[in-house]
Symmetry: C3
């Protein structure tokens, strides 16, 4: 039964035109439609193989390096899980312990850690205008190292969240939608509300909402972006979403009311983020290591946030959605009213009703990351899947 499912997915994969071998994964919109589908298919195959105790290990040895410039639970464990399942050992590069403090350049560090590394996963989402650039600097460095014969292999860079996109999250979100609605084609015409929500915190990156509108706009969906005045996203990502929505036969609306976005929505994604200006000021204050300024900014920002406490995903708001039954999505952890804070992004009853869905949504992430790495490492991904399924090597002995 599951073997049949796997075979079908591999047949689909074979029909796609992709150029992912030896390529990095930074922004979903740098990947073609077929490449997005291929990533989903491989992730689904891996999830199924894992469930049925078939190893998809492709490496005998090797390192998968992670660089986290921001704290992380699920992305850290998803990355560790993904590289482990492929046969690599996760090795965290912690700048605090390293000689970066001694003035190493990105070029040098990137090469020094890569002599035997196959992947570098990077989370750098705090510094607006810099995270994506940093990832590209790392790529340029290892590319040069490889060309000059310093590195025997070219490590793939996977974006574990930048200032622009959070592709491993958005792809996991998409995988959940595909599963929930029964196919990628079923997303056509569905309305997704990506909306800001109140939270008594500040400084949450813009990359999740940007990633969501930048990806979901490619499947004929009706994308509604909503946030209070001042909580703009990077303009180019909004423009991109608008353009992609048109091209894919969907639509894009940009409104300033949660209610309007929720109206008739099939999916809602209410999530807090910092305002653009706050992120810019925060970046500059962090660079200046201006602790007093940061405290001041946090206070100002929380006061600003507090004006929009009614941007909460309540039962009442959920009633506005399609048949009052929209799928609630969140990248987690959510700020839950009465649970993790006094008042937050979502009411307790709404959040708890959807727990099986949000956890299930999260469960795709390790497999999505593994798929991204696999597709950059294996020249004929469909054939290798067939080989591994035929070999049927058990992950755990039985």
């Amino acid at each position: 039964m599951y073997l049949h499912t796997l075979q079908n997915k591999i047949q689909e994969l074979k029909k796609l035109k992709i150029q992912m071998f030896q390529r990095d994964f930074l922004l979903t919109w740098e990947k073609t439609y077929d490449e997005i589908l291929a990533t989903l298919l491989v992730a689904e195959c891996f999830k199924e193989m894992h469930k049925h105790n078939i190893s998809f290990r492709i490496f005998d040895t090797g390192l998968g390096i992670s660089i986290f410039k921001d704290q992380s639970t699920r992305t850290r464990f998803s990355f560790a899980s993904a590289v482990n399942a492929l046969g690599l050992t996760a090795q965290d590069f912690d700048e605090g312990k390293s000689q970066v403090a001694h003035g190493e350049t990105v070029r040098e560090t990137a090469n020094m850690i890569s002599f035997m590394a196959d992947v570098i996963g990077i989370r750098d989402d705090i510094f607006l205008g810099e995270g994506d650039k940093y990832q590209r600097q790392v790529i340029a460095a290892v590319e040069e190292g490889y060309e000059k014969g310093i590195l025997a292999q070219r490590p793939t860079v996977v974006n574990l969240q930048s200032d622009i996109d959070h592709p491993t999250q958005a792809m996991a979100d998409l995988a959940k939608l595909k599963d929930y609605f029964g196919g990628i084609d079923r997303l056509k015409g569905k309305k997704i509300a990506m909306t800001w929500a109140y939270s008594p915190s500040y400084g949450k990156p813009l990359s999740v909402p940007q990633g969501v509108i930048g990806l979901m706009s490619r499947f004929g969906m009706k994308v509604a972006l909503a946030h209070p005045k001042g909580y703009n996203l990077l303009p180019e990502t909004v423009e991109l979403a608008r353009k992609q929505a048109q091209e894919s036969g969907g639509s894009f609306e940009h409104v300033d009311s949660m209610d309007e976005a929720f109206k008739d929505a099939d999916i809602v994604y209410p999530k807090s983020w910092a305002s653009f200006q706050v992120m810019e000021q925060r970046r500059d204050l962090l660079h200046a290591n201006n602790q007093a300024g940061l405290k001041e900014l946090e206070k100002k920002c929380l006061e600003e946030n507090a004006k929009y406490m009614d941007w909460e995903c309540t039962e009442e708001k959920m009633k506005l959605t399609k048949n009052a039954k929209a799928l609630y999505q969140h990248c987690l952890p959510a700020d839950i009213t009465g649970v993790s804070c006094k008042q937050g992004e979502v009411s307790k009853t709404v959040f708890e009703r959807y727990i099986p869905h949000t956890y299930h949504q999260a469960s795709f992430k390790p497999f999505v990351i593994a798929a991204m790495i696999y597709l950059s490492k294996i020249g004929n991904p469909a054939a290798m899947l067939e080989t591994m399924i035929a070999e049927n090597k058990n992950r755990i002995k039985v």
Copy 2:
């Protein structure tokens, strides 16, 4: 020769009635007598296989997660060694680096780290009345996640020390006793003195003495528990030990003098722990993050400890034991008079004479942990051992 030993142990294992598949290991007294024996036998087989370069790897890939809420050397390395030997990669979940600070619930975190995890080892021994509960919350969370299809496999939880029991330690202690006296049946009638000892430190958990009396009372031993007034253990663990001792044909005495406990003892286990009241106050002060209160409590507690400086395992006290030759046990590190402190739990000459024994005692721990995991993962543990021995895969190529 060693193959013969292995075969004998496997034959013994086959005779036992156990239900350990897919079960957690939290408290030794939740396991049947046969299950305790099975754990010892598998641990002994692994130790022998390791010595003779036979791999007992059962996983091709997978994660073994550890959560340490208290510092640790030997348990950390024992866990890392155990999961590595089974083929898993140890991944530490450090709450400091995680989003727990962002208000994640135990349920959510437990699921988020478990998508590809096979084991979760937890040390949570500081908070009286909470450590064991936390472990059961994690179990409930992953059980629910597994039932709802969020987790493809159900990670086994192994107690690496709670407020109630320290089963990996107590089982290693038991393995040493079995080896030292030449069989589990030889423990019948032996007297073990689990006694408090003076230490210029405070806040040492109660789980080691509780674990020792909770386990050793099941083999017909004469268990003597001794401590100064006020240094009580959890009453239910003392009751349990008393009851088990009776049922197993041994005895249990609870005295307030080290000398009395040592008298004619075959084994002595002198070790410091905090008083019950101190642990309770400390827990509340820690929760309140009351640093001044903690300092104050430490002072008071050390003053209280200082009243019992004569509770030291000296040569003189050792003379009270059976033929003056009791086996000295300790979970390490010990507070050694004139070595690691001015005055402590044990005199230098006693400690040093028994170093080969205490180190040997510690050497069982990684294999005990590996056995606990193995028995929860392999449906027919005896048959799988036979298969691995027949395959004779070298751990290191020769």
Copy 3:
């Protein structure tokens, strides 16, 4: 083609007389000439095998423990890469997290972490007169543990930098020279200038210059050591280099001018280090945890350094070298004028011109470490290399 290269190296290896099985690697001068060559040959084979996707994994499971008493990027990743490639899992022993703070002795800790460890890599370079001693204490401890049957295997200790030598660095430097000049015999008569260089930092260990003169003096090279007055190395290492240079048909000169050392040099290695007296005082202040004293010393030391700001490897100085084309070496990271500091060890143009070389130099380190471990673990290293090449197990599936 590369198989032919590999076969040649293995034939060379077969001719060497070595006794490295079950031995540690602390100081290059404790190894015979043949043993140094064997280490290079195995490292070169591993580098070639890695490049051509042939796994050289010799362990199915096992731990490779690292103890870093000083920060590290490249050595940390080199060690992690090396043990991973051999099939071990790197496990860092962080004293901060451990019970060392509870007063464990070296003997106890060394045994407690080694029950299933095959290697222990140690970096302890800050404390003059202590780092090497500490490594030997660890060796004595695990040796004793092994002899007494506590440890089933005896972990190999590899010096990842001590107060005396930095053998993994010096061996990587030598591997680069062998490659650059086309053979170990071609080093005869070449002049290498190991010189102090100015840096606005203090407390850099003496082990790199000591390691370089202690190794390069064995191949008939003309070794020139230069530093300002007061920046002496350990006298015994200088004496050793002098003696070895004579015996190998080379020469050794000890001068107090960078220009003189650079004159007609084939290789220059300009690098900052602290003065001997500073390292001694620093050690004592660190032991006393005298923060004010350390600040004071740093200030004094930087003032002293500042007298020698002209000890910079500039284009002008490079013109003094053989045909103005000496190979520039550095262990990285360098203090580059106008890049990582206002004024430092080397000018920007010199440093950048040699980047491919210094990075290539660094790229040998993981393979050198792997070779050191391999030679201590495999009784017939040439035969095992032949077996692995014949098996041709791919590191990544293709």
